[in-house]
């Protein structure tokens, strides 16, 4: 085992996969000479040269589409969005061109590539730079959508995403970039896309979360444990394919579930989980499926309002207590 930050783990995943496969290239704003707006691609230009690590103009729709074309013609591009907020400029290329081509081509050709970058709220960057795209992209068949929490998640899932023959949307989190975690010291450490991970076992209530919200969920579980409530914390890791089996098995055990996400509640990941639990584990529920989400407003700038907007360990703790009727 070794200890890395999430940022270093992402970098190491790209470094190893670019050594492994000559057709993997990285493109995006500031990825090369600047070494990445958030330093995720530190040193990759020196390692692989300007042919494979490409600084793009600020032209999201253009370079996302260009990545799709490069994938059609034999390369395996990693397209970095400086943040996923800017991917809205490119969403037609991600959904209409990348996700749907395999189906529209009757399986003849697909689009093996990765769209990655930080997603969700950073700190104090307000409405246009603080949005979670998990449910937007998870909505679309043809895409795989992954959201790592730890450094191990980051490395194992990014390597899997790069090797995957399908387009993968890889949602990182800026606040988590500096967090350190232990992970296996192994070049072939890959985590399967589509499998959730039980971070903490418990029998009283299930808490599902992804990305930074896993941290809130684990903190809430600590608080609950002090009161004798054993929470099972599931790190979803992958939103599409969604590991319903792991979530449903947990609900059948605990009979209660709280879903946590930063995105808006309406038609969010929690709404989907509620629907699936309702359809497949209705008889096991002892309390309504409950959601902790970002508030249903654009992200405010003011520090106090931002705190009110975001999910937190405290909010998760309260929701878990409520479904346990305690």
């Amino acid at each position: 085992m070794k200890t890395l930050t999430v940022r270093e783990a992402l970098r190491e995943a790209m470094l190893e996969e670019m050594h492994r496969d000559q057709n993997v290239i990285l493109l995006g704003e500031e990825v090369a000479e600047y070494n990445g707006a958030y330093k995720v691609s530190q040193g990759l230009l020196d390692e692989f040269g300007a042919e494979r690590v490409i600084d793009t103009p600020i032209t999201e729709m253009g370079f996302a589409g260009l990545g799709v074309g490069a994938a059609f013609n034999g390369l395996k591009p990693i397209v970095e969005f400086m943040t996923f907020n800017f991917s809205m400029q490119a969403i037609d290329q991600i959904v209409n061109s990348a996700a749907k081509t395999l189906y529209m081509a009757g399986g003849q050709m697909g689009c093996p590539m990765v769209f990655r970058g930080p997603n969700g709220a950073a700190a104090r960057v307000a409405a246009q730079h603080s949005q979670c795209y998990a449910s937007w992209y998870a909505h679309c068949p043809g895409l795989k959508v992954v959201a790592p929490y730890s450094a191990a998640d980051a490395k194992g899932l990014l390597k899997a995403a790069i090797r995957d023959p399908n387009p993968v949307v890889f949602l990182e989190n800026e606040i988590m970039y500096g967090a350190s975690f232990e992970l296996p010291d192994d070049k072939d450490f890959v985590l399967p896309i589509g499998k959730a991970h039980i971070e903490r076992e418990g029998k009283d209530v299930t808490i599902t979360a992804f990305s930074i919200c896993v941290r809130h969920a684990l903190e809430a579980a600590e608080m609950l444990a002090k009161e004798g409530i054993e929470a099972e914390v599931i790190n979803l890791r992958s939103l599409r394919p969604f590991d319903a089996d792991t979530v449903l098995a947990s609900v059948r055990k605990t009979n209660r579930i709280v879903s946590v996400e930063e995105g808006w509640p309406f038609a969010g990941i929690g709404a989907e989980i509620a629907a699936q639990v309702n359809e497949k584990a209705f008889d096991f529920l002892d309390a309504p499926v409950t959601r902790v989400t970002g508030e249903d407003v654009p992200m405010p700038y003011a520090a106090n309002l931002e705190t009110l907007y975001l999910p937190s360990a405290e909010k998760v703790y309260k929701a878990a207590k409520a479904v346990c009727y305690k």
Binding site: A105, G106, K144
Partner: protein, 331 residues
């Protein structure tokens, strides 16, 4: 400058151009009929009138080159050597179609024939084609991506994002603007502040050329020069081809935004197939008999195409759920 394509004026090669255009014309006419009979559904955009454009250009592409276009795409597929049976069967939504009936008129592909779609979103194929050119350069395969779009798409922002990157990075892409005078129902002078689309690359340092798209030999010559330029310089170029579509934008468009006289003038005086046939007879001493093998071939090919497109079964219900993801190689 490297001169890769030698323009042939051999009788067989000239006849092939005629035969290709005739096949496209008959194919589209029959597609129109099948649409009327309810055998083809949804959107169906016909190429009738524009045949000289893709015929002239594809006649001089090299085998490693790739092609991408928007949704007025049936003729591009035929020009790439795709089987008309598979194209028509896709229009009728049958399993024998290039996309097993799951793509339809606007979304068809053939990796084998280097045809990369068939895209339904106006302008989206332009950055994709530019990215295919990036892959040609990366792989050093001496290929060019021929990226087709219309005068309507020429006003999409992503076209200029693509121009910028193509020139900045020296990508081997030939942008072909098929200017048929109308962006759906809006005439060029109502949708574009400047109408010289071949000059749209000037601010990017991308050279452009204008050619008469109703003259297949003129198109072929201009395309050969343009492809030579792109290949030799590893740099983009724009070829604007002035052409005209006889039918509406799609099957549901009665085309009331233009006069009957305008359409008739093109059909009578500038039709690419009639004009070419006349030129072959007047300037190359062809006789009616010379055309007969080509006309017979097209007739038979279309007959078999129609039969196939109607007899190929609909896709099995299980096909609904296949081809969403590539399973092989997934971790």
């Amino acid at each position: 400058m490297q001169k890769s394509a030698t323009l042939s004026f051999e009788k067989a090669d000239l006849l092939k151009l005629y035969q290709d255009m005739l096949l496209m014309r008959r194919f589209e006419e029959r597609a129109s009929q099948l649409y009327g009979m309810g055998l083809i559904g949804g959107f169906c955009h016909l190429y009738i009138g524009q045949e000289a454009v893709v015929t002239g250009i594809q006649a001089v592409q090299e085998s490693q080159d790739t092609v991408i276009t928007a949704y007025r795409d049936h003729a591009h597929m035929l020009a790439c050597g795709m089987d008309p049976r598979g194209v028509m069967a896709e229009l009728t939504g049958r399993i024998g179609g290039y996309s097993k009936g799951k793509g339809g008129s606007m979304h068809m592909f053939s990796r084998e024939k280097n045809f990369y779609g068939g895209h339904g979103i106006v302008g989206a194929q332009v950055p994709i084609g530019t990215g295919m050119a990036l892959a040609h350069k990366y792989k050093k395969d001496n290929g060019v991506c021929l990226t087709y779009f219309g005068d309507g798409a020429a006003n999409q922002g992503q076209v200029y994002e693509s121009f910028n990157m193509a020139k900045l990075w020296g990508l081997p892409v030939l942008y072909i603007i098929e200017n048929n005078g109308y962006s759906m129902g809006t005439a060029v002078n109502r949708h574009s502040c400047t109408e010289n689309f071949y000059m749209r690359g000037e601010g990017f340092g991308i050279p452009g050329k204008l050619v008469n798209g109703m003259d297949v030999l003129a198109v072929r010559e201009a395309a050969a020069e343009a492809l030579d330029y792109v290949r030799a310089n590893q740099a983009p170029m724009i070829l604007e081809v002035e052409t005209y579509r006889y039918r509406g934008h799609s099957m549901s468009d009665p085309a009331k935004y233009r006069t009957k006289e305008e359409v008739d003038d093109y059909k009578t005086n500038r039709d690419p197939i009639l004009k070419f046939k006349g030129a072959l007879m007047n300037e190359y001493n062809f006789t009616e008999d010379d055309f007969k093998p080509a006309e017979d071939f097209v007739k038979q090919e279309i007959k078999e195409t129609i039969e196939f497109a109607q007899s190929s079964p609909e896709p099995d219900a299980s096909e609904l759920y296949t081809d969403v993801y590539v399973e092989e190689g997934a971790q």
